[in-house]
């Protein structure tokens, strides 16, 4: 242990090295100017009293940094906030809660959507199986959640996983199929990308329904945790349930000339295989409410979408954002972390509209014994005029009376939406009256408290940011 420096030494070389690290990931160093502490009126005398006074002051203002200062004096490692995902990637998926189990609040299924058993290989290979087929979308694919199943320390996670299959997922799947059908009606534009933003399992189910026509680009950027704010294990269970169906769709979709048909284009266009458009799939629970609590692990995360420039470069000038109404009378709008993105889309020449997933309703005209079929507005006639209601149809309206009805229904189901900048906790901010650039992730978001040794190794994990610590054994590190 390095002995405390004298006042003379500090005056001569005030910057004291507090951290240095060098790995294949990178290297760096951090210093602290001890002479600033000398100027503090609470501190007098030799270096020992200065250090003690720092402990008192630091206890009031900044636990993390002062704990660092006190490293030599305290028997415990300093407490810092760290990104939850980084902690899990270092400590294992259930960091700090190894004795707890996941709670599956949704119905489990013994077999997948194809009626087959799912083995461990389906879990460890999920992240590579879900990679987009088109190379253009691979950079935007976020395999983080799927890779949690492949981690060598995730044996207990794989052991606890269940396939998730619920009635709400069946409804979402049917709505996805109906939405895919809308893209096959006359006048459907061929430059629309989808952004699906529903509660995880329903988002997966809707995407599975749409997968006959759209290429899924999964954006699940966290790991599950027994105390996770975001119940991502349910998302994993849903993806595992639909995995075989999604893979089958990928095989047929890749050679489908569907878009050639939907754009009403030439025979040449209809005959050649075309690129399926992308659908970016998000879990709306990523921003679930969280209050710093000892029984919650903040595994929330932010959406990451391609820029308007990237979408336009790939030929997509429109985005249809799929949400559900949050409540009766509630206005449809994007989740807070997407506001900047959507406003930028508008400014970058990409039109954004919302479609409410629950605007696709059971076809009321079907006989009671017929299998359930969803159509937009609950009517096959309105369904046909979906694109007219959004003003995106490339075909002339044939039945003005239906167009009028469709527009009326569409206006309440998201067709009138336009992105408007609004203050959110993720907005850029100005601090202290000067221009400044806010980090997209606000302070405290997706962080947990850990104790960290001088080498950067995590020695304890707290559930909340200020929660109690569960001491981690060094055996975790091998």
């Amino acid at each position: 242990m390095k002995p405390p420096r004298t006042a003379a030494e500090i005056d001569l070389r005030p910057f004291e090295l507090r951290w240095h690290g060098a790995t294949v990931e990178g290297e760096g160093a951090r210093w602290w100017n001890e002479s600033v502490a000398v100027r503090n009126p609470f501190i007098t005398g030799d270096s020992t009293s200065r250090r003690q006074a720092l402990l008192v002051i630091g206890g009031m203002v900044a636990v993390g940094v002062v704990a660092n200062l006190a490293r030599c004096d305290l028997q415990s490692d300093p407490q810092v906030s760290m990104e939850a995902l980084k902690v899990q990637q270092q400590m294992g998926w259930n960091a700090g809660e190894e004795s707890r189990s996941l709670i599956f609040t949704l119905r489990a299924s013994p077999t997948d959507a194809g009626g087959r058993q799912v083995g461990p290989d389906s879990m460890t290979t999920l992240w590579s199986a879900m990679r987009p087929v088109q190379a253009a979308w691979v950079p935007y694919y976020i395999p983080t959640l799927f890779r949690s199943l492949a981690d060598e320390r995730s044996g207990s996670l794989r052991g606890q996983m269940s396939l998730v299959h619920t009635d709400a997922m069946d409804q979402a799947f049917g709505r996805g199929r109906a939405m895919a059908d809308v893209f096959g009606v006359a006048g459907a534009p061929d430059d629309v990308a989808l952004v699906i933003d529903l509660p995880g399992p329903e988002a997966v189910a809707l995407a599975a329904g749409l997968s006959v026509r759209f290429e899924p680009v999964w954006l699940f950027d966290n790991w599950p945790h027994p105390l996770g704010v975001v119940p991502s294990h349910l998302v994993l269970g849903a993806v595992l349930y639909y995995r075989s169906l999604l893979e089958e769709s990928a095989g047929t979709r890749a050679v489908s000339p569907a878009a050639g048909a939907v754009d009403g284009g030439s025979a040449e266009g209809a005959a050649r295989p075309v690129r399926p458009p992308p659908m970016f799939v998000l879990d709306s629970n990523r921003l679930a409410p969280y209050h710093d609590a000892a029984d919650q692990f903040d595994n929330r995360y932010l959406a990451r979408l391609p820029s308007a420039q990237a979408l336009r470069a790939a030929g997509y000038r429109r985005v249809l954002y799929v949400r559900t109404h949050d409540g009766v009378g509630a206005q449809l709008r994007e989740l807070d972390d997407l506001n900047d993105d959507f406003v930028a889309y508008g400014q970058g020449g990409v039109d954004v509209r919302i479609v409410s997933a629950d605007a696709f309703q059971l076809d009321a005209a079907l006989a009671p014994a017929a299998p359930p079929s969803y159509v937009w507005g609950g009517s096959p006639y309105l369904h046909t005029y979906f694109w007219h209601s959004y003003g995106w149809s490339t075909a002339s309206p044939a039945r003005p009376s239906y167009v009028g009805l469709a527009r009326s229904f569409g206006s309440s189901a998201g067709a009138d939406y336009r992105p408007v900048a609004r203050p959110t906790m993720f907005s850029s901010r100005t601090v202290g009256g000067l221009s400044g650039v806010g980090k997209q992730r606000p302070s405290g978001f997706g962080l947990v408290s850990v104790r960290q040794s001088a080498s950067g190794r995590i020695t304890a994990v707290g559930a909340g940011r200020s929660g109690s610590f569960g001491r981690m054994g060094s055996s975790s590190f091998g």
């Binding site: 602290w32 950079p139 650039v437």
Partner: protein
């Protein structure tokens, strides 16, 4: 209430074949590990900035923040702890073969980015604080331009380091062999924004 100011900047520049920038940064950091006096600190940052400025035409992604008041110290702690955690690879991982993500990344893009982070916690109300504030007071449209990041880098040697409470520098990757692809950059540093030329 804290009266500090946080200033942080991250720059990702493209690294071309045989470029020695990363190795030179490594040398600068390694040679400056000991406790530092004010002249040494100033010389250290002048060297870092000179190297950065030499790569200014290749700045492609970046991020910066300037925060005054009680949030400043927490911001310094947040940035530094997150970056340091990312560098805290356990010894048994070092030297192991690349995992599948790295293989995928390398298949998609050449490893060719270097990311440099510079963080400062400054005494509020000092000349250094005022100077930095003036230099960071930019129109919003300029926030993410290549020239802005060159200007921000130029601001560092203007500091009186007697007013600097804490500073930190980080470089990624950590070896000449490893490189950061554009895919890895987007996934690992999603907050970095493309810079306008």
């Amino acid at each position: 209430m804290s009266n500090d100011t946080f200033f942080g900047v991250q720059i990702a520049f493209r690294r071309y074949r045989d470029d020695a920038s990363r190795a030179r940064l490594h040398d600068i950091i390694t040679r400056s590990l000991a406790d530092q006096g004010l002249p040494e600190k100033r010389a250290f940052w002048k060297n870092v900035v000179a190297l950065l400025k030499g790569n200014a035409p290749h700045f492609e992604y970046g991020y910066w923040d300037f925060i005054r008041g009680e949030a400043a110290e927490g911001e310094f702690e947040s940035w530094s702890s997150e970056i340091e955690a990312g560098l805290a690879t356990e010894s048994e991982e070092v030297g192991a073969g690349p995992d599948e993500v790295h293989r995928l990344a390398n298949a998609i893009g050449d490893p060719r980015f270097v990311i440099v982070s510079a963080l400062f916690l400054i005494d509020g109300g000092t000349n250094t604080d005022r100077t930095l504030g003036e230099r960071c007071d930019l129109p919003e449209a300029s926030y993410f331009k290549q020239t802005t990041f060159a200007r921000l880098a130029d601001s560092i040697p203007l500091m009186n380091f007697a007013n600097v409470r804490a500073d930190a520098v980080y470089v990624a990757p950590g070896s000449e062999k490893d490189g950061i692809t554009e895919l890895e950059l987007r996934e690992g540093w999603p907050h970095l924004k493309p810079l306008e030329r």
